[in-house]
């Protein structure tokens, strides 16, 4: 394995293609979108080149600010819940027999192959009045009549956590497999109960991985726009839903572009903040 930084043209070759694809299919469209976000909308038409801040000004209203706040809150909650479930699960998984680990990981990967649409429809059926899980409670004699659990905030949250869970496990897994099992055992011999050892040693030792997973799932959840529409009420719609609505149904490209740009900036700011907090705590050490 060579360790020097790439120098000659041949060294850069392996990264040339990905860089070109990223440039052509991400940076250029993003540049166009950024430009469009300052364009002027033409009523009944499309837009014309200009430099106006109207689109951003409109966005700074209470309504859109509220939606942005809700989107960030929802994504944050999804990432917290998903990681909180995935962490103990993966901790156990990493200590299983190799064959069992492979079976679980393949199962989780197959969940990733499901599209958002299928996940949304599956959950709307599961939470419905006619075929939903409440029928089991009726069957068990706990309640009188089945009822629908969607559309609701809980339904949106549940489906999004379901979608985010495999990602969380796959990101946490390598770190948990590498984690020295004697850390936990040492804490126990030193007087910590298994639960206490998990919270005072295992969790802090994995701090960086956990923050990385939270950020990944957060960004992933922020882009979700089908599940909030399928399982939520209009007040549960995220900014991504509004972007789609403005771009496709209202034909207001400049405003949709402005929202997308703003969403991305908010996202980057939050990630930078998380990184900064992580580094500061590191500096105290």
């Amino acid at each position: 394995m060579r360790r020097e930084a790439p120098r000659s043209a041949a060294d850069f070759l392996p990264i040339a293609l990905p860089a070109a694809v990223l440039g052509v299919f991400f940076l250029i469209p993003f540049g166009i979108m950024l430009a469009v976000s300052f364009f002027k909308r033409v009523q009944g038409g499309f837009y014309e080149p200009d430099f106006v801040l109207d689109n951003y000004a409109r966005f700074l209203s209470a309504f859109f600010g509220g939606v942005l706040g809700f989107s960030v809150l929802l994504a944050g909650l999804v990432s917290l819940v998903a990681v909180a479930i995935a962490l103990p699960f993966t901790h156990r998984l990493a200590r299983m027999r190799p064959r069992a680990q492979v079976a679980w990981l393949v199962g989780l990967l197959s969940v990733l192959s499901l599209s958002e649409v299928i996940i949304g429809f599956a959950w709307s059926t599961l939470l419905s009045k006619t075929a939903g899980v409440t029928n089991l409670l009726v069957f068990a004699g706990i309640i009188e009549e089945s009822f629908s659990l969607s559309p609701s905030f809980g339904a949106v949250l549940t489906a999004m956590v379901y979608q985010a869970f495999p990602y969380s496990v796959l990101v946490l897994y390598p770190a948990l497999v590498r984690l020295d099992p004697s850390l936990d055992e040492a804490a126990r011999t030193l007087g910590a109960s298994p639960l206490r050892a998990f919270f005072t040693v295992v969790l802090p030792a994995l701090r960086r991985t956990i923050v990385a997973t939270l950020i990944l799932v957060f960004v992933f959840a922020l882009g979700s726009y089908l599940i909030p529409q399928m399982l939520g009420r209009p007040q549960h719609w995220t900014i991504s839903v509004l972007v789609t609505d403005q771009a496709i149904y209202q034909s207001n490209m400049p405003f949709a572009a402005a929202m997308a740009v703003f969403l991305m900036l908010a996202c980057l700011a939050l990630i930078a903040l998380a990184g900064l907090v992580g580094r500061e705590r590191e500096a105290i050490r």
Partner: protein, 340 residues
Amino acid sequence: MTDLTLQNVTKSFGHVKAVDGVDLTVPGGTFVCLLGPSGCGKTTLLRMIAGLEDPTEGRIRLGEEDLTAVPAHRRGFGMVFQSLALFPHLTVAENIGYPLRIRGRPKAEVRRRAEDLLDLVQLSGYGDRSVARLSGGQRQRVAIARALAFEPRLFLLDEPLSALDAKLREAMQVELRQLQRRLGITTIVVTHDQREAMTMADMVVVMSGGRIRQADVPSRVYRHPADAFVADFIGSSNLVEAVAAPGGLKVPGGTIPGLSCPGGRCTLSIRPEDLTLTLGEAHIRGTVTFVRDLGATVETFVDAEGVTLVSAAQPSDRPAVEPGAAVGLTVDVAKAVVLP
């Protein structure tokens, strides 16, 4: 001082018995080494004493108290792990103070105790360092200090010195032994290095195949091995098949007078230093195949009727011979051990 008593302790993993019916009493205040090749069950036995594995059968007692079902965190035994298991997110002092913080002791006391322990392991002033910035020997000392911080009833170490280089390891062996003497704490160390065991222990417990082969003071284990396995594992030994013959024991290359086999056939264990190389009259005759000059001692490999025997002597005490020379070997009969 309370004794640790193991009674028929057994651990099975599926069909494999990692530890098979171990009975052992560790007197309070002593330093015991569990010694054996890898896979002999010594680490599993230590983990059962620590409470990290449950015995399949048997009982573990400390004094009158039955600990068999007591979880690790309630046993109050300090343990040093092979990987050391220092907590990467804590500083040196926080690592050492961890067992006290878990026990809810006041902050000032935790800090003071950590500093005392740092003095004890000669790391004064290292308290605020990150454990990642310590050398191997320093990490070792931190792990030892942390395991001793809460004044444990038993001090357990699993191959604690295996990550250190040879020189530092020898220095730490002496240091660990002196520390144990000063604190008077009952200590059990797992090791596969017989020199390490001989250096430190009051009692060496030689294990193989999940069973105890011999448990005794180091000099007796060395001088009077219980069987061929112990003789071979503790130091090097010439193990020779012997048959009773008129006037002594018939071995490859000659006859050794003054020894007898109870059953007619036996194995003779002769330490290399008890086998003298000579050019004159001797018990065994053979041909030199290899000379290994280690500086302080010289080992001469002698082929006697297809069996290789090793003689060790100081350079001045042996005749200068080259491979191919015909030589004789004299056995120090008083020190040879007859094994069944």
